[in-house]
Amino acid sequence: MSEKKLLLKVEGLKQYFPVGRKKVTKAVDGISFEIYEGETYGLVGESGSGKSTTGRSIIRLYEPTGGKIIFDGHDISGKLSKEDERYLRTNMAMIFQDPMACLNPRKKVKQIIAEGLEIHGLCKSQEEIDQKVNDVLDKVGLSREQATRFPHQFSGGQRQRVGIARALVMNPKLVIADECISALDVSIQAQVVNLMKDIQDEMGTTYLFIAHDLSMVKYISDRIGVMHLGHIVETGTTDEIFANPIHPYTKSLLSAIPHPNPIVEKQRKAITYNKDEEGVDYTAGHEHVLTETHRVLATDEEFARWSGQAA
């Protein structure tokens, strides 16, 4: 791990939203993780766990309440200088969940993809823009004729390819994929995931892959962070999380994955996890280090109990 170059470091990131006059929702409450160059970091959790908020705070769609985000040597938390903002916008891109809602219906696919290049003035001539758009279309498996169509003329899988093309055209270092396959059919999901893997092999892109489907995350991620209620409760390499889950929430998530095996599946019951019943207080816990990469958020007593169960 250590020889790899650190690309993104998130330290104690907090994202609070005011609700009404006095209340505050702590969507993300002090999380820390790091992403190395060329890897895929999967962020999983149920809805409301703050995984999407984390992604959006990193790309600065929100103003983070506290904490530090270091992206490739640039501090992108707090107020952004013009330079840093430009660096952030051109080197980090996002793929959104709903491929229909995130594409402007009145623009042609080509215009949608080229928009980033035009705004940042990255190309000197129209030919250069065309060239780049055509290259990226080839990469995501769309034909050049399709570039003159509108988003509504595409199927769901193709639209998501347009979304990916738009994210990749700037040749970003980090791509944040926010539930980018949840809205697609199973057979199309596989196509999109394979495409993302191929692009990574070819271009060395780094992904922050946000999803609630653990089985897909297993396929694509090198390391996984499990989020619950604004905290990362467990993080580790994919093998560590799947082979040796410590935190009860991780265990319940793993047990909830349906297996396509009727006889086994009919008898299996998912493990339930209730934070209050277990008496777990995330703010009281601190990180326990199991291996260099595997960390669990727990108090000493909880850690002893959970790791005892696992053994």
Binding site: D185, I188, F242, N261, P262, E265
Partner: protein, 365 residues
């Protein structure tokens, strides 16, 4: 074809040669092209397929909520229902007007749970009232009794504080709770058939498991028949007794769940099973079915799956395959099952996976 009765139970629904098309500005879309399916009392069937394969259209017809530009070209859907007084009535849903279906059958005998729990609840109405609504509409009972039943239903679907929930509004509940409420409404009049249209796609995995277990529990208790519509084979494996795989408006493979999952015969089913991510395998590439579903606006010659099928035979491009009986209740619409067809082996990866699944399940080859 010899008829094998699936169970000793009675048949509640039988669909025969159903064809439905939609008239649009761009031409006629043939959404359903000859579907035949049976549903028996107390059984769970799952209809699996991609979006656009016609699974939702099939059940919408049963509920009488087919879009206004939809036309039923041919076929019948016969629903056999036992009234409370013991008389047996048969309805052909195709011949009934949509209005009639809605007045006589919907809610009372056939109920549906929709995909998105937020859009299927009325945001301006208290939960309790929404559950009482179908009871008051269909049965001649006093309000107090309806309220009592609504409370009991809330308890039954696993809501911890039914009294509190009774007075809440949909926006105050979480996604899982809302879906439970929707299920409670569907169950309000003790239906014979419960249709679940992707009931858990909008929910998280942890909640999904709970909801599915709940539906199953209620089903066994009340002995109702359930139709699941889904594209998630994991969900199918968990709940279904019988599976029908749909592709481009046709059923390409159907059979008991064990027959289809442990001995799939249609290349499309192979593709679906292979593209499921399996948490136990270490392969770093997912199998993907190449291409995309056909445009149903155009006339389909031969097998609709042929262009995406690496095992396609010449005849696949000329003539649509008939349903082959491959033993038990397993039926497959693929020329590969013809006695004259060349022998095609399962893809290697799938073979390994099925062997492993069988081992886990304790079945010997």
């Amino acid at each position: 074809m010899a008829k094998v009765k699936r169970d000793k139970n009675e048949r509640v629904l039988s669909i025969r040669d159903l064809s439905i098309s939609f008239k649009t500005n761009f031409g006629v879309v043939k959404a359903i092209r000859g579907v035949r399916l049976d549903l028996f009392q107390g059984e769970t069937i799952a209809i699996v397929g991609e979006s656009g394969s016609g699974k939702s259209v099939t059940v919408k017809t049963m509920m009488g909520i087919l879009d206004s530009n939809g036309v039923i070209d041919s076929g019948s859907i016969v629903y056999t229902c036992k009234e409370k007084d013991g008389t047996i009535n048969k309805y052909d849903l195709v011949k009934m007007s949509q209005k009639d279906i809605r007045y006589k059958l919907c809610g009372k005998h056939i109920a549906m749970v929709f995909q998105d729990p937020m859009t299927s609840l009325d945001p301006t109405m208290q939960i309790g009232k929404q559950i009482m609504e179908p009871i008051l509409e269909h049965e001649n009972v006093p309000k107090s009794e309806a309220a009592a039943r609504a409370l009991a239903l809330l308890d039954e679907v696993g809501i911890t504080e039914p009294e509190k929930c009774f007075r809440q509004y949909p926006h105050e509940l979480s996604g899982g709770m809302r879906q439970r409420v929707v299920i409670a409404i569907a169950l309000a009049c003790d239906p014979d058939i419960l249709i679940c249209d992707e009931p858990t796609t909008a929910l998280d995995v942890t909640i999904q498991a709970k909801i599915l277990e709940k539906i199953k529990e209620i089903q066994t208790k009340k002995n109702i028949s359930v139709i699941y519509i889904t594209h998630d084979l994991g969900v199918v494996a968990k709940v279904a007794d019988y599976v029908a795989v749909m592709y481009a408006g046709r059923i390409v493979e159907k059979g008991k769940i064990n027959e289809v999952f442990y001995d799939p015969r249609h290349p499309y089913t192979w593709g679906l099973l292979s593209s499921m991510p399996d948490i136990d395998t270490d392969s770093h590439r997912l199998f993907a079915i190449p291409g995309s579903p056909p445009n149903l606006m155009e006339e389909i010659v031969g097998d609709a799956f042929a262009p995406r099928n690496p095992y396609a035979l010449n005849i696949d491009y000329r003539e649509a395959p008939p349903m082959y009986d491959v033993g038990g209740q397993h039926r497959v619409a693929s020329w590969l099952c013809d006695p004259h067809a060349p022998k095609v082996e399962l893809p290697e990866e799938l073979k390994v996976r099925i062997a492993k699944m069988k081992k886990e399940a304790g079945i010997d080859e």
